[in-house]
């Protein structure tokens, strides 16, 4: 049980005797379906409530119960919330993976484990804390069936004692977690206490990791990206929602249902100011979105890669027939029988050009839960202003993990519904031409079915029409229309959210990233500055098509690293297509595609290696 210092296997992993405060990763290894989620959330929340920045990442299998799952909590006084590769504190609850889990961690780390697993036989360079879970759980949980569940709360107590998490915060977090279920809260609290007391008596502190109160989370919230996007959609005034269940997207619509039932029921009639439909599949889901968008609703669907593929034909129709709609793509590793519970940014390229023919689609790339909220709102405005399907490209890491954030700001701008002509407009104008580019921005005016004016009706189809929406196969009508659509995409370029740029002094090297890579990148930028004296500019893409600002960024740097969480450098490819030809050679790729969220060290190492190679 004693710590044995051994010669470090790797230089940077060498064990130092100093205390490490508010800077560690806790990994809890369990099997899924064992109810450990509650214990993990309580631990995460308790640390958060102590004012320490945290993030939690759940690595779960594509099955319902019985397979290994890992939950990692990172506490970071610097506020880093990216995944960290290294584990400092392991809670080994899963006999099946315990040996490997123990083998993989750095020397000097600590291991809390079920004493029957005898893990301390495995290594000499770790701190081992054996816990007799069965013994502890029996007295606090008389109902044998529930013990499996309650065991988990015991490790919360043990970890709390060992790391210095305040038990009042555990208690508060438990209350929050269980809300009105007082009995369950009580049971779990007793278990946590039992763990705490055991550790107090039997587990002398032997590792160097500590958590102590600070004040860096005051006023902040914890939420996952899907819930944040759901809130965004609700405050965007969404009226028609269609979906088909798919991990990791389901929770977006499921959370939306909860919120809408609460906040979007007409107070007088008690009727819903929305319709949410679980469709029979993704083809139907997108079809309903287009039908609803055509008829004037703010319509959306949410899915993941397989659904995006199935929506291809319809999305192309949406592009050509110019119908608004918002599609959330919570990206995961492809294909369906791939790794559906692992994160990826693998749909970027195929979504940009989704569908046959000359099609291209605006995409927004939220990096944070705040942006899940604000970009959901922006996406609805864009879709209606541009009259085209708009994609919000989130991912499993953002969508399903819990993130710390500032509370979301209430939208300032009123809802922008684009160029829709009412009965009164038509009375004034006398007539309208659906596909005439009156304003030079490529966007025509539309009417909605049900508009009580004889000139309101028009016939919608793909590209086979002239400016008046009359059937036409004439070559010129076709090219005119296609050129207008191209013009509209140039309008999109100006309207989508601009990138977020942090300029370094030298302007020698730049980095471009998007979505969840952001968190690893900001940490890597610090590492590069501190460890390698490399000061690098950063351009965080927030949308496709790229604004001129992105081209300028590439223009004024010598080398630009593009970070992609996919194998094929998908965003880098899109940039290659869009940057000035002479700048293409500046682009280099940093790729990460093992299904785990990106970590800062991988980015740093890759840049350092490529800079040295140069």
């Amino acid at each position: 049980m004693a710590t044995t210092h051994v010669a470090a296997q790797e230089a940077e992993a060498s064990v130092e005797p100093q205390q490490v405060v508010n800077d560690l990763s806790i990994q809890v290894a369990t099997v899924n379906g064992s109810g450990s989620q509650t214990a993990n959330m309580v631990l995460l929340r308790a640390i958060f409530q102590m004012g320490i920045p945290v993030s939690g990442k759940n690595l779960f299998p594509s099955n319902i119960a019985g397979l290994p799952t890992w939950f990692t909590i990172r506490a970071s006084k610097q506020g880093y919330i990216a995944r960290r590769k290294e584990v400092d504190f392991l809670v080994a609850m899963n006999p099946e993976t315990a040996d490997e889990d123990v083998r993989d961690i750095r020397p000097g780390s600590a291991v809390v484990y079920d004493e029957r697993l005898n893990l301390n036989r495995l290594r000499k360079d770790l701190v081992f804390y054996p816990v007799p879970f069965d013994q502890l759980v029996a007295p606090v949980c008389p109902d044998a069936k529930l013990r499996k569940l309650v065991r988990n709360m015991i490790y919360d107590g043990v970890v709390a004692k060992l790391l210095g998490v305040e038990m009042e915060e555990i208690h508060k977090a438990l209350q929050k977690q269980f809300r009105k279920k007082a009995k369950a809260a009580e049971l779990n609290w007793n278990a946590a206490k039992a763990g705490y007391e055991f550790a107090e008596k039997k587990l002398p502190k032997a590792d160097r990791f500590y958590l102590t109160r600070m004040d860096a989370t005051r006023g902040k919230i914890i939420i996952d990206g899907n819930a944040a996007a759901a809130l965004g959609a609700m405050f965007a005034g969404v009226t028609v929602v269609t979906w088909y269940p798919i991990t990791p997207s389901s929770s977006l619509c499921e959370t939306l249902i909860e919120y809408m039932k609460r906040y979007r029921i007409d107070p007088e009639t008690k009727k819903a100011t929305f319709a949410i439909v679980q469709a029979e599949d993704e083809l139907a889901a997108i079809g309903m979105v287009l039908g609803a968008g055509w008829a004037g609703a703010r319509a959306m669907t949410s899915t993941s890669g397989p659904g995006i593929s199935l929506m291809s034909e319809f999305v192309g129709l949406g592009y050509y027939a110019e119908i608004p709609g918002v599609i959330f793509d919570i990206q995961r590793v492809g294909p369906s029988t791939g790794l559906p519970t692992r994160t990826s940014q693998g749909d970027v390229l195929s979504t940009a050009f989704l569908s046959h023919g000359d099609t291209r689609h605006p995409m927004l790339f939220p990096a944070s839960v705040e942006e899940c909220f604000s970009m959901a709102i922006a996406a609805f405005d864009l879709a209606e202003e541009l009259q085209t399907p708009v994609f919000v490209m989130s991912d499993l890491d953002l969508g399903m993990n819990n993130w710390m954030a500032d509370p979301f700001a209430y939208p300032e701008k009123p809802i922008a519904r684009g160029k829709v002509l009412s009965k009164e407009d038509l009375e004034r104008l006398g007539a309208f031409e659906r596909y005439r580019d009156v304003d030079g921005d490529g966007v025509g005016y539309r009417t909605l079915p049900g508009t009580d004016h004889p000139a309101a009706g028009y016939f919608t189809r793909g590209s086979g029409h002239n400016a008046k929406a009359i059937y036409s196969e004439r070559p010129h009508d076709y090219t005119d229309n296609m050129d207008r659509l191209a013009r509209k995409f140039e309008t999109a370029r100006l309207r989508v959210p601009a990138p977020d740029i942090r300029e370094a002094a030298g302007r020698e090297v730049g980095i471009i990233a998007y979505g969840t890579s952001h968190w690893a990148v900001v940490e890597a930028l610090d590492q590069l500055r501190q460890e390698h004296e490399l000061d690098i500019s950063y351009c965080r893409l927030r949308a496709f098509p790229f604004n001129e600002v992105v081209r300028d960024f590439v223009r004024r740097h010598r080398r630009v690293y593009v970070v992609d969480q996919n194998r094929d450098a998908q965003m880098c490819q899109l940039l290659r297509l869009d940057m000035d030809a002479q700048d293409v050679k500046k682009l280099r790729s940093i790729l990460h595609y093992n299904g785990l969220p990106l970590d800062a060290r991988s980015v740093t190492d890759s840049i350092v290696a490529q800079e040295e190679e140069r």
Partner: protein, 349 residues
């Protein structure tokens, strides 16, 4: 003899909302002369004219095929959406979700429905969404030049000599089994029956599914196919003659009392069935399926209103959406106030 005074125009014939039949017409058809689909378009024009429906209230939705083009040829001032192949049901669903005050008229073909589109068809029927779903059924893919669809009869032969050896899908039997609440079959050439069925469908509140045998004169007018004009003329076995009584008119239809089953539709209008030969009760699902299954096995075409259920709630009722179109609710009703966001944020702290 020459007079400069213009003689008063003869009184125009108008319907109850003051519109001439012209207001219900569309572009000139580009379908083949004699195509059954054109006859159906004419009946649609008549039905909407007779019932005095404002054209702006109608949304015409279709998939792809000769049949799916036909919405351009009626109700020219209504909005229309010619979508993708086999997916009209989802477009119709979205449209009605966005605006429940619309009258959705979906037009599809047998290929569009029974082949590529059968999945969306099944689920639309199951939902009982308020929509009129017309299959212009010719047993072939007209627009792609005459391949068999899934409603082609066993043993029918293409001009190329290819013979169909798979059983046809009976869309009426399916619709009934799945939950549609107004299910009928007619023939494009049977003006009276089709018009009555269409008017009943317009008045019905829920999914109305009309399978209309509509011969393709170019690719399927040959012996062996029940969808050819001659076959239907010979074998058509009308199950029941129905006459529609719109609720805004006096009952003027003449029918033999005592042999009638009267059904009251959601809007108060009624459909009256004249019994022909047998005592057919269109509220009996089991019986409807029996009739259809036996006809199917015999390769017979039975026409009439097979099944109607005026009680089952429509999908929009189940969803409990507000009465106004969701599409145009004002911001005040679709964006919750700042206090709501504050409350939620507080809860997440």
């Amino acid at each position: 003899m020459a007079s400069t005074a213009t003689s008063p125009a003869p009184p125009r014939k108008v319907n109850r909302i003051g519109l001439e039949i012209h207001a219900y017409k569309g572009n000139r058809s580009t379908l083949c002369a004699g195509c059954g689909h054109n006859a159906i378009s004419e009946r649609i024009i008549e039905a909407f004219y007779e019932l005095g429906i404002e054209p702006y209230r109608v949304a015409k939705l279709s998939g792809i095929g000769c049949s799916s083009k036909s919405p351009a040829y009626f109700l020219g001032t209504s909005c229309g959406f010619n979508a993708v192949h086999g997916r009209m049901p989802s477009i119709a669903t979205g449209t009605m979700l966005a605006n429940r005050t619309l009258l959705a008229l979906g037009v599809s073909g047998d290929g569009d429905t029974a082949s590529i589109g059968i999945g969306q068809f099944v689920h639309l029927m199951r939902r009982n969404l308020p929509v009129i779903y017309i299959i212009e059924d010719n047993g072939v893919y007209g627009l792609t030049k005459g391949q068999f669809s899934a409603t082609a009869d066993i043993g029918s032969k293409l001009k190329t000599g290819v013979v169909n050896d798979l059983p046809p899908i009976d869309t009426c039997a399916l619709a009934i089994q799945l939950g549609a609440t107004y299910v009928a079959r007619s023939f494009s050439g049977d003006k009276r029956q089709l018009l009555a069925l269409l008017e009943g469908a317009i008045a019905h509140h829920g999914t109305s599914m009309l399978d209309v045998i509509s011969p393709c004169v170019t690719f399927n007018d040959h012996e062996g196919s029940t969808k050819s004009y001659s076959y239907v003329k010979d074998h058509d076995e009308p199950l029941a003659d129905i006459s529609f009584v719109p609720f805004f008119q006096d009952i003027t239809v003449d029918y033999a009392p005592g042999t009638a089953t009267e059904i009251t539709l959601h809007d108060g209008s009624r459909v009256i069935l004249k019994k022909l030969g047998e005592d057919y009760d269109p509220t009996n699902k089991v019986e409807a399926l029996r009739v259809l299954t036996q006809a199917h096995d015999k390769g017979e075409v039975v026409t009439g209103l097979f099944y109607v259920d005026t009680k089952r709630e429509s999908f929009l009722d189940l969803l409990n959406v507000v009465d106004e179109p969701l599409a145009t609710l004002p911001e005040s009703r679709v964006r919750p106030p700042k206090t709501a966001l504050d409350e939620i944020m507080e809860d997440l702290k």
